[in-house]
Symmetry: C2
Subunit: 503 residues, 2 copies
């Protein structure tokens, strides 16, 4: 179609990753308030992916998968402490990203890319887990979520790093007012991004920018200029500021004359956290449930690819894609191969981007190391269902508010391996009407899906689980740089325990 | 902004009205399958209205309101047989549109417009109720829904008219294969539309085309070329054919060079009939319930205005609009005034179309002659809630499948007049989280809404209810023209009864 090979054989790569933003939060994906004009314009100038998935409905494993091109069960971002539980990297986690994994920036270095991460890392916060140890040249952001404030004796506030040194902590030097929702963090991340782009362009070096702002993760925040501006409350304010930031970055690329040399991809790490209520969470559009679950609301993500002159404008791709494809696709665009010594789940989407072709591939939905569901074509088979436990649900924690579907959004872990629940996501995107097991359609689909699952399970070598052990001693008490700031805290004695993952 | 007054002081007017199509059925409104490229392009070239409403969640009252600019409770399209029930015009209805009402085409005639309706009329099928008796110059279509087939002794099949004469009946001359879903009706309606536009343009007469196809009303149908093409099943096939038809009509206007002289508005008569299941019904996106209910899923409609050179391209209007505004707006664009001898609920949206201004106005949600709810700004107050009766619900008829919200989607008629259920539709478009009555927000909103409701109720003079009486004798046994075709049937003796309206 429109493939005009660039002069540059190494296009810049910008991956814009949102935190807990839902498929239904963008105007172009059906948000009624239509408050994302910049993202909607990005879609009009690029390619929209309505069938794009994360690799896990929770931050850390999703991000590990994006950067390694591999399912969490392979890269170790899971737990074996209990069956089918999502694990992540809170401050007490002992583990993180393994040195055995190969991350996208590490491979990009082979072609001279300068790599920066801005925002949330979430692949472990101990020294050997940090971004500069895993291929990134620069970092501005934090290793964990912006929960807090903490009292510094039971638990430290999360540090903010500039490269390898902490420059302050959330709720201290980097304020987040939980009452008003005000914080300048997104503005800081934006400025960092614009600066980085400017300097790499001046130096004529190809760059990879991984822009991972987290304003849409609870506690959601926005800067003063955006607070109270949305019809949707504070969450919408955060979305408006992020939308503005994306618009600024794209305009910047255009102003610098490198828009045709820069591949930009926008997506989110997991579905909207609908359990947090409407002021603190987004929308998963027509999809069932949200974050933490393997229903579509937890796993289907907004996604837009943008690369003027290369990706045909205003197109919609029905390709089933995943965050892991960003690994393989970025390497392909940079003229690099994926590592050949391990199984890579990511697909090279460049034929899709250039010619809107369709590549047949399944989507696997994992919770911990359990394959909960699989999608083949328009059909999705659930082998296990679970929203959350009765104990939690009865305390008012609801992962599917207003969306209970009998026998589907279950509060006990339900095994369906002998007779999977099968949905047609084209005519039933909300996973409300299981196809009757007595029908020919069901039997035909099941035999096709069974073959896919058998192949997948046969080739599966689980990685060493990294998210089993916790210890208060490993928290961010005294990150590098704390001495200069006089912000070192004393760690308690090491007392490791098996982490408890409730979801 | 972009207002270039046309050479023609009387722009052509095309109102494209869908039947039971939901807000969430268009790509531009978030349908995951993104199978409406023509409508999405229409939006990109025109103005999108995410906050556009019908006047009643059922066909006949909605259509009566569109053509009269008045709420059903004023124009008589309601029943007093039971409290808060939706009524319509099945074949046994005695009533229909009153000669006391003034319809849009009647006023447009004053400026020389030629008026045609194509498709479903649904304002009564007895001789004095038909379109040519109420301002239309031409008609191709049917007076009732395409239910059937009937055996001609208990009930006749619904006639298809060409102007004042029947030319056949559904399931007889105008086939609908309920097994395969095949019917050519949309193609016939499209050809009728293109022909009409061509001839009026040749004759240099301003025209009003009311294109009211019904392929998305159960039993849904599509022509052979579209059957099996959608990811969404048969319903999606119908949507794809309608989307194609809209694209053809807009291309035709452009080919004839009259796109800049033609105001086109696309919307639907009520929300998707989600009770019919996913193969026979559409999507209401993030909204609660559907057709028959006064939740957003029943009342919020997809809406796009298109008028190149007049309406700024690619805009989104946050204006609260209703189908009744099409009456007032069309007259305004034609340089005509609305009737001054009666209350008109429709608003002139031309300032919105030209300058994207916002006009403050409430939305009233009626079921029968009961004001169930009202929207003021982003807030909606429910004075009565009801989805459907326990009797029906227990038989498996569910107006809110997979969407039960405790205390909201009730199966008894619940009165909340002393303490309305209030939702913020910006942060909670799905009407899942009533605002606590103890909050300041609730009290502030309630006092604003109460003033609006009191004013509305004070000025309300209900029309004579037209939908109370039924009689098998009035059905389409022997429509005009049946003699020539040899298709007259014998009517039974008149035995009127008070119609039973279950919803
Ligand atoms: Ca997240
Ligand atoms: Ca209808």
């Amino acid at each position: 179609m429109l493939y005009n090979p660039s002069n540059k054989s190494t296009p810049n790569i910008v991956i814009i990753l949102m935190d807990d933003m839902g498929w239904g939060d963008l105007g172009v994906f059906g948000q009624p308030s239509k408050e994302t004009p910049n993202l909607d314009t990005m879609a009009a100038q690029g390619m929209l992916f309505p069938n794009f998935y994360t690799a896990n409905p929770l931050c850390s494993p999703s991000r590990a998968s994006l950067l390694t091109g591999r399912l969490p069960v392979r890269n170790g971002f899971y737990t074996t402490n209990a069956h089918a539980r999502n694990a992540y990297t809170p401050q007490e986690i002992v583990g993180g990203i393994s040195k055995d994994e190969i991350l996208l920036p590490q491979v990009l270095k082979k072609k001279g890319y300068v790599n920066k991460i801005i925002g949330k890392w979430h692949l472990g916060h101990r020294a050997h887990h940090l971004p500069l140890e895993h291929g990134f040249d620069e970092w501005f952001g934090a290793p964990n979520c912006h929960f807090g404030p903490y009292n510094s004796s039971d638990r430290p506030n999360v540090p903010v790093y500039n490269n390898s040194q902490m420059v302050g902590r959330y709720y201290e030097e980097f304020g987040i007012d939980k009452k008003t929702g005000e914080s300048n963090l997104t503005q800081i991340y934006l400025e960092e991004g614009l600066d980085f782009i400017f300097h790499q362009n001046m130096a004529q070096r190809p760059f990879f920018l991984y822009w991972a702002a987290d304003a849409t993760h609870a506690p959601v925040y926005a800067s003063k200029r955006f607070l109270g501006k949305s019809q949707r409350g504070r969450y919408g304010d955060a979305v408006m500021e992020l939308d503005y930031s994306v618009g600024q970055m794209l305009a910047w690329l255009r102003a610098l004359g490198i828009d045709k040399d820069t591949f930009v991809f926008f997506t989110s790490d997991n579905g909207a956290a609908v359990m947090s209520g409407p002021k603190q969470s987004g929308s998963n559009g027509p999809f069932l449930c949200g974050k933490e679950t393997t229903f579509e609301g937890g796993m289907r993500e907004p996604a837009i690819a943008w690369w003027p002159g290369h990706i045909p404008a205003g197109t919609v791709s029905q390709q089933l894609g995943t965050v892991m494809d960003l690994f393989s696709t970025s390497l392909s665009l940079a003229g690099l191969s994926v590592p050949d010594d391990r199984l890579i789940d990511g697909l090279d989407l460049s034929p899709v981007l250039h010619n809107n072709t369709l590549i047949n591939r399944p989507i696997f939905y994992y919770r911990g190391n359990e394959m909960m569901a699989v999608r083949v074509g328009p059909y999705k088979a659930h082998y296990w269902t679970w929203s959350n436990s009765w104990e939690e649900f009865n305390q008012g924690i609801n992962f599917c508010p207003g969306q209970e579907v009998a026998g589907v959004t279950t509060h006990t872990q339900q095994e369906h391996t002998m007779q999977p629940l099968i949905f047609h996501l084209g005519r039933d995107p909300g996973e409300k009407y299981p196809i009757s097991a007595g029908t020919k359609e069901y039997q035909d689909v099941l035999s096709r899906i069974t073959a896919v699952v058998e192949k997948h399970k046969k080739g599966l070598v689980p990685g060493v689980p990294q998210l089993n052990m916790c210890d208060m001693a490993v928290m961010n008490w005294a990150p590098p740089g704390c001495e200069k700031l006089g912000k070192c805290l004393k760690a308690p004695k090491s007392q490791p325990w098996k982490c408890d993952w409730p979801h």
